[in-house]
Structures are given as structure tokens and as C-alpha cells.
Amino acid sequence: MSHLLEIEQLSVTFGGLHALKDLDFHVDEGEIVGVIGPNGAGKTTFFNMISGMVTPTAGDIRFEGESLIGLDPNQVTQRGIARTFQNVRLFANMTILENVMVSQHCRAQQNIFGALFNTKGFKEEEAEIRRRGEEILGFFGSRLVGYRLEQPASVLSYANRRRLEIARAMATRPKLILLDEPVAGMNPMESRELTGLIGRLRSEWGFTIVMIEHDMDVVRDVSDRVVVLDHGETLAQGSFEDVSTNPAVIEAYLGRPLEDRAAADRPMEEQS
């Protein structure tokens, strides 16, 4: 059978450094896959490549059977892959509602003339975009709705920014969502709550999810399957239990000096 996302022999180099090497990977519809690995393992690069922000040096990425290589990020999103960012990147000066509305851009049809002449179709679509935006925000409880709708995203707390980022990704109506450290910086209570939400993302909204996460509790709670990356290579795959007992994985997490990781992590932050 064909997978939703299928990655073959994916490699990328930055100035001679192998950020990813011969990576094979696949996600099936409805799965939640956790991607873990020490800092500098190439996780974010991996996401950047899927979302079209970095072009791989070799290999292929197929989504629903079609290759994504050479597509612009917006085209990838158009095909149905949305993402969040490790270092939360909201449109800080747009309102919360606008953040969610603007992300529906590629799902809207109305053109400039509709806007100019305020046609029926335009009004309906705007209303629909708005309604959908509010619906998505409502998914996160009362935090992002009500008076908050018209507030700039910059006033939100860190945790809420993370939530809004997820909402924004949901608004692009994807089939697959890539979550980059969704609970980073949250307190245990908040991250527990978000873990539940991630599960509901699949059960209620039908999204397939690939998630980079350092918080092993979260990974264990929601992942159907876990992939461990190290030095740009797949170290292990399988259920959380299998992986967590894999000696190579333990070695990778514990056996390396910290400085090394930090240095290796740098090139990947460059895509801004």
C-alpha cells in the first residue's frame, strides 16, 4: 500500500556537512509519529525539507504519491502539509483571528474583483473564513476566543502562542501537520493538556501528525511510532518502548558532550 508521506534516501548537505543522510521514512494516514533525537540530529532540517524550505541534495519526498521536490513551501502547504516552528513565529502584530484567517489563504477562491465589488461570493467566503477561524480557535478552549480575537498575537503568553501556532497550522486545512516541539517551554500541566489536544487533533479533526519533541512523556503518550535521528541518520524506529530500550539510542542521548550538540545545531536555524 502507499503511504501518506513517503521519504526515500533523503540527504542534504550544508557546505560539506551532512545534515541528513540517506533517510528513509514514511507516515501512514491517521498516524502520530514522534521524531526524537539529540540536538543537532537534523530534526528541524527534516521538517524544513518536507515543508519545502530547504531543497534536498538527493532523495525523494512523496506526499500522496506525488513528489514534493522542487515545490515552494506554499505549494507544499497547498498540497496539505502544515507546520509549526520550533521558535514560535507568529504574525505578532496581526490579531489572533487574523493569524488564523490569513492561514486559510490557500483554501480561498475569491479574487481581487470579488473584494473590490464586495460580491456575494466574497462576503460568504469571508464569513466562512471567519467562522472557521473562530471554530479552530475554539478548539483550544476559551483562551484564544472572545475578546482575544481582536488582540494582537504579541500580547499572548508563551503557551498561548504555541497553541495559536497549532491553530494556524490547522487553518491551512492540512492532511498532515508537522509539529516542531509543540510543548517546549510549557509547564508540566500545560504540556499535559496539549498532549491531550494532539490526540484530539487526530481523533476529532482527522489530521495525521508528525511531531518533533524532546519531552519523552509527551512522545510516549501520543506517538504510535517513534523515529530516532542522530547525526542525520535514522538510529531506530518503532514503538516508544522498543526505541527507548534500544542501546544505540541511549548511547546517542547520553554519550556526547554538550558543546558538540550545540555547534551542530546551528546550521539548521538558518532558514529564516
Binding site: 484567517m101 489563504h105 481581487i112 499572548l156 503568553s157 503557551a159 532558514q271
Partner: protein
């Protein structure tokens, strides 16, 4: 740096003494003032503007150019920025002393200058190093008199500026308002008498407010201000801003209706000078509205915007003038007669859109600052092509296209000799432009522009085709500029490549920035204030006397705005947030507003802050 007494909300009369001031700051400000005054004197402003009387017979515009700075700096040197909740310095005699000291130091600069000019001849490099300068600076008296006089005058003005702090808030405002009222009534003499002939009684026969009327205006303005006239307006504005929903819509509609009515009535009662002025303002308003979409909404710094103005102007000229270049094939019609201009306008818009695509496509993927220079290059290329002998057979090169007919609508004819008709046409087009800007800003395209402006790569990742969206901004901007071009060629009746210098792009940019990027009202205010008062690149403004110093003022204004008020006079809420992001975050943090309804830890708040700062630098 002492004397920090707790602010109790009221000015504390007690202070540690009149001379307990920050002498270093005074020396610095005074030195700067002296340099500034000497610079102004050497630019020739005082002598050049001496002919123009402000208040007959003792205050000329030239004198004013030297005297306003001591006053302003005298005010600011005593002025401490008061942060909410942070202790402020006590007000009192020390403000006056500081102001006087600064003023006197500045005056000393002029005093020294007058002695130097009198004794040494440096006229060779410095053209304004002239006997007239000595004459002016010494008030036709001896040089020694001038020396003493400037220290005294400037010191007194500085003291007066400082003394403003001592006055109660309300009185201070009234005094400033009254001073401004007198100066504005005097400076806008030609405008006011053009609007209402009968106002001439205010002025002396050779120009300038008479002493008596100056006093009357001062008193009246002061009375109005004290009676709270200004406050009410302010309250109305605040109330409007606070309103929302249908109430706000109703008020907006009311405002628009009142504004449109004013726009229809004003040209009927004013004279030709004002009508011409407003027609020119309107053309620049059209241009600025277009650039506002590109720079203000989409965040693309286009320095070659004049290219679209030129394309618009030339297309209309070619399509309507019998005097276009001889090489045009005969199937390109000459559209004079009723309706011809409208057809030409339609073609012009198409051409501008085409130009927008052709210029936009190569530059749209470039970094913001590269894009700025490359568009500037494109602006020059377009002008050079219109100027060139190569295409001279089409555009007549340097000779330009002349005899462009007026815009004839059959029932209504818009011609340059009748500025009122031009004004009406411009206003109709401006209304269309405003409508387009407003509709687009609140559509999905507008949201996409904002997203691109905020963070292009995230916008891209959110499924926005940034290239198309930016290109669209370029094209819409180009189309709006072509409106202005079409009116311009019909208005002036002839069109030359010299009307499309880089300078025009810069002036339009200054309008957008001074008015407030991304804000339609701001752009209108900017056009009115800059082109209306100072004048456009080749258009005189109300202050015709300033035309020699116009560009200097434009440059200075641009720097000042960027340093102190990058969001413009009438800011776009969002844009100003963006430009002051760090401050906003700090304020929010200080006030603990980061997140009241949630258990916000300190670490979170600071992460918040750091994050905000991070995105600030990262956007490009």
C-alpha cells in the same frame, strides 16, 4: 542628575534651587543649538526669507527661521520624559534657567558668526557669507549690537520656552496653541485671503499680520483653547476610536459624508490658487495612496515608483496628443473628443499593470534592500528611455509631448486652465483609490500582504504564494499611480521626462512615511501637509518662499520621522506596533499585561519578550 522628588501628579513648586540643573546637558544642547543656528544662517534662509513678513513690521520669516529653535530647545531641555510611575523632576525656576542658558549659548553662536562675517571674507566657498547676513543679524545696527542682541534674544526665547513648563498644563497648551495660531494665520496669508477675500483686513498691505490682529488672533486662540474647544475635539476622537461595531460604522459613514461634502464645497468657495494647490495635492495623494499599498501594506520598499507615474502619463499623452512622436503606427488612435480620455485611461491602467508585472517580476524575489535599489534603477531606466533619442520617434525625447488635450467627458471638461475641474476629477479618482485600498486591505489579499510584511518565510509556509501576493501589490500600486499620470498629463497639457526624476519617488515616499505607513488617512494628511504646504518636487506649495529649502526640509523631516516617530503622524495601529515592537513588549511587561488571566510565570514573560525581540530582527 539629582533632585528626584516623588511625583504626586502635581508640579511640585519646591525645588532644590534654580541653578540645580544638569550643566552638561545644557552645554551639549546649547552647543548643538549654536551649530544649528549657524548652519541655518549659512544656508541663507534668514536673508532669503527676510522679505516675507510674518508680523508687520518686526517679525519676518527669515527672523523666524532663527528664533523658533531657541524656543523649542529651551522647552525641550527642561522637558524630562516622564514614565508612568517613575519619579519626575520638579518643575520650577530651574527650567527657566536651563532654557535661558541653552538659548544664550545658541545665541552666542550667531553672535560669534556675525563678528566673523564682518571681519573675514569667506564668501568664496560660503555663498551666504555676505554683508546682507551681517545686516540682518545685527538688525541694521552695529555689529556689537548684534552680538549682544542675539545672546539676549535667544536667551530670552530659551527662557520663555523653559517657562512653559512652569505654567499649568492647560495654560501651557493654550499658549502654544495661540502662538501656533498667530504663526499659521500669518504664514498662510495667501491661502486664507484666497479662500476668503474679506480676510485681507488682517494683513498689512505689503504682507504680514498687523500687530493689532496678531494680538487679537492670539487672544482668541487662547480663549478657545482655554474654554476647552480643543479638548472636545480630542474627546470626540478618542470616543470614535473607542467605539466599535455599528456605532463606529455609523460614525465613519458620517465622517466620510461630511468629508466628501467638504471636498465638493471647498473648491466652490476658494480661489484659483487654492484650487490649483489642491489639484496638485490630489495628484500626489493618488500617488501616495498607491505607494502606500506597496510600502505600507506589503512592506516592499519601492524607490522607483515614479516609473509607473511616468508610464501612466506618457501612455495617456501618446493616446490623446496630436503631438506625440511621429513613429507611432497609424492604428494607434488619437483619442481626443468626448470620452477619449476615459478610453485612454483604461489603456493606461492596462499598460501600468503590464509595467508593474515586468518591473515587479524580476525584483520580487530579491531581499528588501536590494529590491529598493533595483527599483530605483528601474525608475531611472524608464525615465532614460522616455528621454532617449532612441525612442525619440515615439516620445519626442527631451522635447516632450505637448498639446495634450483636456479630459473631455462630454458634459464636463477637465482642463488644466480650470484647476477646480482637475480637483474634482482627482477627488473622484482618489475616492476610487481609497475604496480599492480599503477593500483590499480588508480582504484575504490584504491579510496576506500583512503576513508577508511581518514574516515572509512563515507566510510562505502558511500557504501564501508570496511572490504572487507581492506582485499583486506592485501591480495595484502601479495601476493607482497610472491614475495620477493620466490626470497629470491632461492637467499640465504637456509632459517632459524631467517630471519623473528619482526625486518624485522620494517625495512620495516621504509623504507616505510622514503621514503614516499603511494608513489611508495618514497618507492624505501627509500629502496635504507636505505637498500642500511645502510643495511637490516641481510644484509650489503654500509656502512658496520655501521652495529653495524644500528638499532640505524633506530630508530633515525624513530623518526626524524615522528616528522619533517611524509610524508617522497618523499611525496605522498595526504598523506602529511593528515599529515599536520592543517598546510595546516592554510596556506590556511592565504593566503586567502579558497575560492576566493565566498563571504567567516570570520566565514565561521574559521568554515572551525575548521572542518578540527575536522576530523583530529576523523579519526580512
Amino acid at each position: 542628575m539629582s533632585a528626584v522628588t516623588a511625583s504626586t501628579g502635581m508640579p511640585t513648586a519646591v525645588s532644590k534651587g534654580a541653578f540645580d540643573v544638569d550643566w552638561r546637558q545644557i552645554a551639549r544642547t546649547g552647543g548643538l543649538l549654536a551649530l544649528g543656528l549657524v548652519f541655518i544662517a549659512l544656508t541663507g534662509m534668514p536673508v532669503g526669507l527676510d522679505e516675507r513678513t510674518v508680523i508687520e513690521p518686526w517679525l519676518s520669516l527669515g527672523l523666524l527661521s532663527l528664533t523658533f529653535l531657541p524656543f523649542v530647545l529651551g522647552y525641550t531641555v527642561g522637558h524630562e520624559k516622564v514614565l508612568e510611575g517613575v519619579a519626575a523632576k520638579a518643575k520650577g525656576a530651574r527650567d527657566v534657567v536651563a532654557g535661558a542658558a541653552v538659548g544664550a549659548l545658541g545665541g552666542l553662536g550667531l553672535s560669534v558668526l556675525v563678528v566673523l562675517v564682518d571681519n573675514f571674507d569667506l564668501r568664496d566657498p560660503l555663498v551666504n557669507w555676505s554683508p546682507q547676513l551681517v545686516e540682518m543679524l545685527s538688525f541694521d545696527q552695529s555689529v556689537g549690537f548684534g552680538f549682544v542682541a542675539w545672546i539676549a534674544i535667544s536667551g530670552a526665547l530659551g527662557a520663555a520656552g523653559g517657562a512653559l513648563h512652569v505654567l499649568p498644563h492647560q495654560v501651557r497648551r493654550a499658549v502654544v496653541a495661540a502662538i501656533l495660531a498667530v504663526l499659521l494665520t500669518a504664514i498662510f496669508e495667501s491661502f486664507l485671503t484666497d479662500v476668503i477675500d474679506q480676510l485681507e483686513f488682517l494683513y498689512a498691505s505689503r504682507g504680514g499680520l498687523t500687530n493689532v490682529w496678531a494680538v487679537v488672533v492670539f487672544v482668541v486662540a487662547m480663549a478657545v483653547s482655554l474654554s476647552g474647544g480643543g479638548e472636545k475635539l480630542g474627546e470626540r476622537r478618542a470616543a470614535y476610536q473607542a467605539a466599535s461595531g455599528p456605532a463606529k460604522n455609523r460614525q465613519t459613514a458620517l465622517f466620510i459624508a461630511a468629508f466628501s461634502l467638504a471636498m465638493i464645497i471647498i473648491p466652490l468657495v476658494t480661489g484659483k490658487i487654492t484650487q490649483e494647490l489642491m489639484a496638485n495635492v490630489g495628484i500626489f495623494m493618488l500617488l501616495a495612496l498607491g505607494l502606500n499599498i506597496v510600502v505600507g501594506l506589503a512592506g516592499i520598499l519601492d524607490l522607483g515608483y515614479v516609473a509607473f507615474f511616468a508610464v501612466g502619463g506618457y501612455t495617456t499623452a501618446v493616446l490623446t496628443s496630436p503631438n506625440r512622436g511621429p513613429d507611432w503606427p497609424s492604428w494607434v488612435p488619437t483619442l481626443d473628443g468626448p470620452g477619449g480620455w476615459l478610453i485612454a485611461l483604461a489603456v493606461t491602467i492596462v499598460m501600468a499593470i503590464f509595467a508593474g508585472l515586468v518591473i515587479g517580476a524580476p525584483v520580487i524575489r530579491m531581499r528588501g534592500d536590494y529590491l529598493a535599489i533595483v527599483t530605483l534603477g528601474f525608475g531611472e531606466i524608464i525615465r532614460l528611455l522616455f528621454l532617449s533619442d532612441w525612442l525619440g520617434g515615439y516620445f519626442n525625447g527631451a522635447q516632450g509631448i505637448t498639446n495634450i488635450p483636456s479630459a473631455d467627458f462630454g458634459i464636463f471638461e477637465v482642463k488644466g486652465t480650470d484647476p477646480r475641474s482637475v480637483f474634482y476629477l482627482v477627488m473622484v479618482l482618489a475616492a476610487i483609490s481609497i475604496y480599492i485600498s480599503w477593500r483590499l486591505e480588508h480582504s484575504r489579499l490584504g491579510r496576506a500582504w500583512m503576513a508577508v510584511r511581518e514574516d515572509e518565510s512563515v507566510a510562505e509556509a502558511m500557504g501564501i504564494n508570496t511572490v504572487n501576493v507581492k506582485l499583486m501589490a506592485f501591480v495595484v500600486g502601479a495601476a493607482l499611480a497610472s491614475f495620477a499620470g493620466a490626470v497629470f498629463s491632461a492637467k499640465v497639457g504637456s509632459i517632459f521626462p524631467t517630471s519623473f526624476l528619482i526625486l518624485v519617488s522620494i517625495v512620495i515616499l516621504v509623504i507616505v512615511i510622514v503621514g503614516g505607513m499603511g494608513n489611508i488617512v495618514g497618507v492624505m494628511v501627509g500629502a496635504l501637509g507636505l505637498v500642500g504646504v511645502l510643495g511637490g518636487p516641481k510644484q509650489p506649495g503654500l509656502l512658496q518662499e520655501f521652495s529653495e529649502y524644500k528638499l532640505l526640509i524633506y530630508g530633515a523631516l525624513l530623518i526626524w520621522m524615522m528616528l522619533n516617530r517611524p509610524e508617522g503622524l497618523v499611525p496605522n495601529v498595526r504598523r506602529s506596533r511593528e515599529l515599536h515592537q520592543d517598546e510595546f513588549l516592554q510596556d506590556a511587561w511592565l504593566r503586567g499585561e502579558v497575560d492576566r488571566d493565566e498563571s504567567t510565570t516570570e520566565a514565561e514573560a521574559s521568554a515572551n519578550l525575548a521572542d518578540g525581540l527575536g522576530t523583530n530582527g529576523g523579519a526580512s
